[in-house]
Amino acid sequence: MSEKTIYFDNNATTRVCDEAVEAMLPFLTEKYGNPSSMHEFGGQVGSYIKKARQQVADLIGAASPDEIIFTSCGTESSNTALRGLTNPHKKHIITTKVEHPCVLNVTKQLEKKGYETTYLNVNSEGEIELEEFKNSIRPDTAIVAIMWANNETGVIFPVEKMAEITKEKNPETLFFVDGVQAAGKIPINVKNTKIDMLGISGHKIHAPKGVGALYIRKGTPITPFMLGGHQERGKRAGTENVPGIIAMGVAAEEASNYLDDEATRVKQLRDKLEKGILERIFNARVNGSRINRVPNTTNISFEYIEGELILLHLSDLGICASSGSACTSGNLEPSHVLRAMGVPFTAVHGSIRFSLSRYTTEEDVNYVLEKLPEVINKLNTISPFQKELKELKEMKRVCLSTGKEKGCCKSGNCHHN
């Protein structure tokens, strides 16, 4: 392993912010009581949880902290929303082909129990066609489950608009949003929307792993997923992960404070990184919309070379990123997100996601821009697709020297500008 760590994998997980660490520590040491206890020692913990609930409610703009329940992770939040359906006559679900497995694997299982799922397509930019969505809503649609931002590409879905369309067509259909990759990256204000439920995850917003939250709008009919004691007002049993919850509260407040930084500084760094890579590396192309995107993510394919190999070489330089290649997935299939977008195989297997955070510095970006071209050039020489690479290089050259009309831009395979 390299001595330094240049971390560009914040969509996988984030560093816990110092404020959160400091806030949670007393709950691992002297304030270890159980908030359900009858004694003051345990009972006092409840007031801190209450504060954390308010902090999370504020991050996503919930009307009341009572609409927040704490869970163990983003995955549990999605499971809770989807498995809690109560109306036995509504057995249709709408989601997309590019959701996280914590939604897709649940719908797959619900299908075995008699549910039917519509998986919405995305276009080459990773965006949903609203007309297709509108037409898929039925009288028996129980729930719509859509992510706010995609973890692989960062592409944002218009969930607020989609929630409105849903309620217009069928007021009884529930609208769940997987907000894991949106929280802390873009402003969220659920009370001004028609969204019924929204899941978030602690470890993606600089809180520790093992804590998440689910917003449930007052009056939303769902049955609890975890049964047991009366914690979380009966909506999620199990003794509270107190240190995690306290940390998540503080992390949520910090995330609210950093939203401006995210929209300006982080975005500028991401754009610099992306532009720099496209300028320096001829077989690089961006996957997904470059307009409709959270500010911290870029997904770039290096055509004709394989992603795991790139990651291994980057890792030797201390650079952490992730890939949609089959070799990294453990199940031999490349990214279902990029496949759904119709990204060609030549590019899917060579896709690398860089995801930034408030801790990313300009030096980090410069370091990648300095090192990455060497890595890619070296790996290009190993590729059996020398002829194709040569053509690509020529296309990009023509494109850069003549403007957008010719070369790769014309082939639709280009993301200069």
């Binding site: 190999l309 291994l312 070799c327 990294t328 490349p334 059996p384 697709f385 020398q386």
Partner: protein
């Protein structure tokens, strides 16, 4: 994160013999872009049949590069008769081993080598056998060969070695059938060791779960293994099966037949 040996790391960091040979005497290919790995090898072979030079190009992960690089080192300066005997296991061994899920990288090396040797001998690539796994274009011949050479025992292992069954999983039944046939063949040549009781229980449970229980559950029933004593397998039928007047028929005709077929032994199924 994969656990790669230092040897694997050495090879993918600084692969040797990368490139093309313009006037190669033999060229071999394996894999395809859509599958996420592809390998092309070039051999220079002198009049005495010695491989004097070898180079490769690959589209693949760290272990694919390492496998190809190691293969080049193995075959350079060897006679083609020797080269023909190189197995995928030799490649894996030269690397100090590969993670189970990455064994297919060594198999890809072996495939490209076979392809190159066939090219050298002027054989047109013989009629490719039936494709079992459509997702990764894996042929029945390759599956059989890999099962035989590496003494594979499960479908999961076949997937690790060839990728077959690793995506849509539709061919898993097919793979099981091929595996059963191959295992049976092995059974004929080598004297069969009787399974221990625990092995037997695991095996029977697997068969019950994979081939029997689902059908019973569709009728609202279920089945549970109670005990095994020699050739007698004691089970209990549950749910709807229990009160079903034809339960004895179910046991004898269906459960017993399926178990006999998969175990290759004349077992008796008895309701406990």
């Amino acid at each position: 994160m994969w656990e790669y040996t230092d040897k694997v790391k050495e090879h993918y960091k600084n692969p040797k013999n990368v490139g093309a040979i313009e006037d190669a005497d033999a060229i071999g290919e394996a894999g395809s872009l859509s599958c996420g790995d592809a390998l092309k090898i070039y051999l220079k072979i002198d009049a005495d049949g010695i491989v004097t030079d070898a180079k490769f190009q690959t589209f693949g992960c760290g272990s694919a590069v390492a496998s190809a690089s190691a293969l080049m080192e193995i075959i350079i300066d060897k006679h083609i008769d020797e080269v023909a005997k190189v197995t995928n296991q030799d490649i894996a061994d030269a690397l100090g081993g590969l993670p189970a899920q990455k064994m297919h990288c060594s198999v890809m090396g072996k495939e490209a080598l076979e392809d190159a040797l066939a090219y050298y001998r002027g054989e047109s690539i013989e009629n490719k056998s039936r494709i079992v796994c459509q997702c990764f274009g894996v042929t029945e011949d390759l599956v059989r060969e890999v099962v035989q050479h590496n003494k594979l025992k499960t479908v999961k292992e076949i997937t690790n070695y060839t990728k077959a069954g690793g995506a849509c999983e539709k061919c898993k039944d097919d793979l099981q059938k091929i595996l059963d046939e191959e295992l049976q063949k092995q059974g004929e040549t080598s004297p069969k060791k009787p399974l221990t009781k625990t092995q037997m229980i695991v095996k029977v449970n697997n068969i019950l779960e994979n081939h029997i229980a689902e059908a019973l559950r569709q009728d609202g029933g279920d089945i549970e293994l109670i005990d095994i004593d020699g050739n007698n397998i004691y089970v209990s039928l549950q749910g709807a099966c229990k009160s079903c007047p034809s339960s004895n028929l179910t046991l004898k005709n269906f459960v017993e037949n399926v178990l006999r077929e998969h175990l290759g032994e004349e077992v008796n199924v008895i309701e406990a």
